[in-house]
């Protein structure tokens, strides 16, 4: 393979990885505190994408207003999701929580299907993200370069919150020992809400970028990226934020490079991801970063 092509695929891999990373963070933060796999997390991408689209198309808002609004709205939806589907089951056996999560996911997908229709809709990608940089044989969508940068900025912001603020300290405490944190008088409900807000907002940001990258959106668009991001979170060590980011980039790179190097096996790319997941769960369930605590 030529150097140019390899470079192109490398950049693509990093870019895809950055999108996975943002989604993975949400999974990992919620799991760290609640020990819950939020099946409905991936669907938040879809909500953000549609919200961003309707903001521009229906309300004629400029993208730099519509997209952040969509992110905030989706963040709020994340809090609502917890309140409605997970909070009532805090004391219930885990299997109930998982079932509720699956139900919430299907509900969101099919509600979108009913309300919006299953026909894929084109996402209005702004030119700011849309033009193509040409450097010799290299053709790169400028979005591909912006994504990792935006991701990195968001992650840095998140790390600041988690490590340098009181709220962040409370979140880390909650992930280490749920009950003790409650006994210390910390308002767990607010911490959990904050966790969902942050995780959902990051997923929303990823959703918007995803929609700009693959500009046909449909109600089930969040399923596969969501699952892959979950795999990334597990690879990195579920509960560990840095792990989620690392896992995301790793998975994105692997996916692109495997497809580039072995084009015959492209059909099996989803199966590969599942097999990686099963492998990690069986042989190194604590992932790359080890401990199941938010670090």
């Amino acid at each position: 393979m030529s150097l140019t092509l390899f470079l192109q695929q490398l950049i693509n891999g990093v870019s895809l990885g950055s999108l996975y990373a943002l989604i993975a963070i949400g999974y990992t933060m919620v799991y760290g505190i609640l020990r819950l796999i939020n099946f409905a997390h991936g669907d938040l991408l879809m909500v953000a994408a549609y919200a961003g689209m309707y903001g521009v198309l229906l309300f004629s808002l400029p993208w730099f207003i519509s997209f952040p609004l969509a992110v905030m709205a989706t963040g709020a939806l994340g809090i609502l999701l917890d309140r409605a589907a997970y909070k009532p089951l805090r004391q219930a056996p885990r299997i109930s929580l998982l079932i509720s999560a699956i139900g919430a996911s299907f509900l969101m997908e099919n509600l979108a299907l009913v309300l919006i229709g299953g026909v894929p809709k084109p996402f209005p990608r702004p030119d700011f993200f849309g033009y193509v940089i040409k450097a010799g044989d290299l053709h790169i969508l400028v979005l591909t370069i912006y994504s990792p940068i935006i991701t990195l900025l968001l992650v840095l912001g998140l790390l600041y919150i988690v490590f340098k603020t009181k709220a962040g300290k409370a979140m880390r405490a909650a992930s280490l020992d749920f009950e003790a944190t409650r006994l210390m008088g910390i308002n767990l409900d607010r911490i959990i809400a904050l966790t969902f807000l942050i995780g959902s907002s990051l997923a929303a940001a990823s959703g918007i970028m995803w929609a700009m990258k693959y500009p046909q959106i449909n109600p089930f668009m969040g399923v596969i990226p969501g699952f892959k991001a979950f795999i990334a979170a597990v690879i990195g060590g579920i509960g560990n934020i840095v792990g989620a980011v690392l896992g995301g980039f790793l998975l994105g790179l692997c996916e692109i490079l495997i497809v580039a190097l072995l084009p015959d096996l492209a059909e099996y790319r989803d199966a590969f991801a599942f097999l990686i997941l099963i492998g990690v769960l069986l042989f190194r369930p604590t992932g790359i970063m080890g401990e199941p605590i938010i670090q």
Partner: protein, 350 residues
């Protein structure tokens, strides 16, 4: 109530059931018969799924894979070589698939055995973990199986699927299998094997300390569940006469989950009730019927709305009526009799 009376009550119920089925088979409409077949197949699926999820307490999210294995095994074995040649147009079927043909009943048993064999193989990785991890691993395996069905062109005919299967499945097959499955599985649950499984569900550490080997017992449940799911898959294939990988997605697992949760996780009776309610709810139509084509127009139906309702029901049950309709209790003649006695007591004048 004496054991003998209960035995004869059971016999009488079975006679009644098959009597009703006989009437339907003679005088019922095609639509009604199809619904009844669906109910029976769903009962088999739900009761075997409940064995793993309800009785053993594992969140197994991959039954769609075993149903797919059963469906394809049964279909490929029962089709004539000529039918297969007609289907495998992109790539020819490999040997021995392209020449083999067996009677329907043999294909069903093979379907069960095939599914159970795969269950055996994956039980080694799967049963090393519990809880969320087990859920995700089984989900992954279910998906891998489906992807393989989609990609293995020369074995399964890939995305095109298999068409033109003989409609072998009739009320006697579907309800016969359902009756056997319910009886066998319920006997297992009532036995000391079932007790061990429930103990594992209640407290696995304590169960180990009392000498129970969780791996052996859980694998048993896993295999038996896969066996009956495979057979049900075969019945399904020969009912709708067309199968493709798209039939066996996570949606199928979700539907089974609804059945057993609404019915009562852990209760065989509950699973039966859940299956009946679900089939009645019209989901059967989705799986059974293709989009309706009238002239050049395709009516896609309102698939989303049905799923919205089902999702809502699932969530409402899990949030508010978590135990489902039956909780963990089973139907019993004794319970019925004492309820009747209680009612009679309220009827006697003071």
């Amino acid at each position: 109530m004496s054991e003998k009376l209960k035995f004869w009550l059971n016999v009488a119920s079975l006679v009644l059931l098959f009597g009703v089925l006989f009437l339907f088979s003679r005088y019922g409409s095609g639509y009604q018969i199809r619904i009844l077949n669906n109910i029976a197949i769903f009962i088999t699926l739900a009761v075997s799924y409940n064995l793993v999820n309800g009785v053993c307490g594992l969140l197994h999210l991959g039954p769609n894979g075993f149903i797919a294995i059963g469906a394809y095994t049964s279909a490929l074995l029962s089709m004539t070589p000529a039918e297969k040649q007609l289907n495998f147009i992109i790539e020819h079927a490999i040997w021995p698939i392209n020449v083999i043909q067996v009677p329907f009943v043999v294909s069903l048993i093979a379907a069960g055995v095939a599914a159970a064999s795969v269950a055996f193989l994956i039980s080694f990785p799967v049963l090393r973990v519990r809880g969320d991890y087990l859920a995700i691993v089984t989900l992954g395996f279910g998906e891998v199986i489906r992807v393989l069905c989609n990609a293995a062109q020369s074995v399964t005919n890939g995305p095109l699927g298999l068409k033109g299967l003989q409609a072998h499945t009739n009320l006697w097959w579907s309800w016969g299998v359902a009756t056997l499955a319910v009886a066998a599985i319920q006997r297992l649950i009532n036995s000391n094997y079932g007790l061990a499984m429930k103990a594992i569900r209640e407290d696995e550490t304590a169960a180990r300390a009392m000498g129970v080997d969780p791996f052996q017992r859980l694998m048993l449940a896993f295999l038996i569940s896969a066996f009956f799911s495979g057979i049900a898959g075969g019945l399904l294939a020969h009912l709708i006469t067309t199968i493709s990988p798209g039939l066996f997605t996570f949606l199928l697992t979700f539907n089974l989950l609804i059945m057993i949760v609404v019915g009562g996780l852990g209760s065989t009776t509950g699973s039966i009730i859940g299956a009946v309610l679900f089939a009645w709810g019209g989901e059967a139509l989705r799986i059974v019927e293709r989009p309706m084509e009238i002239g050049p127009f395709t009516i896609p139906g309102i698939p989303g709305m049905r799923m919205v309702i089902f999702s809502l029901i699932l969530m409402l049950v899990i949030l508010f009526v978590r135990k489902g309709i039956m909780g963990r209790s089973e139907f019993s003649w004794d319970a019925l009799a004492s309820k009747f006695a209680g009612w009679r007591r309220t009827q006697t004048p003071p």
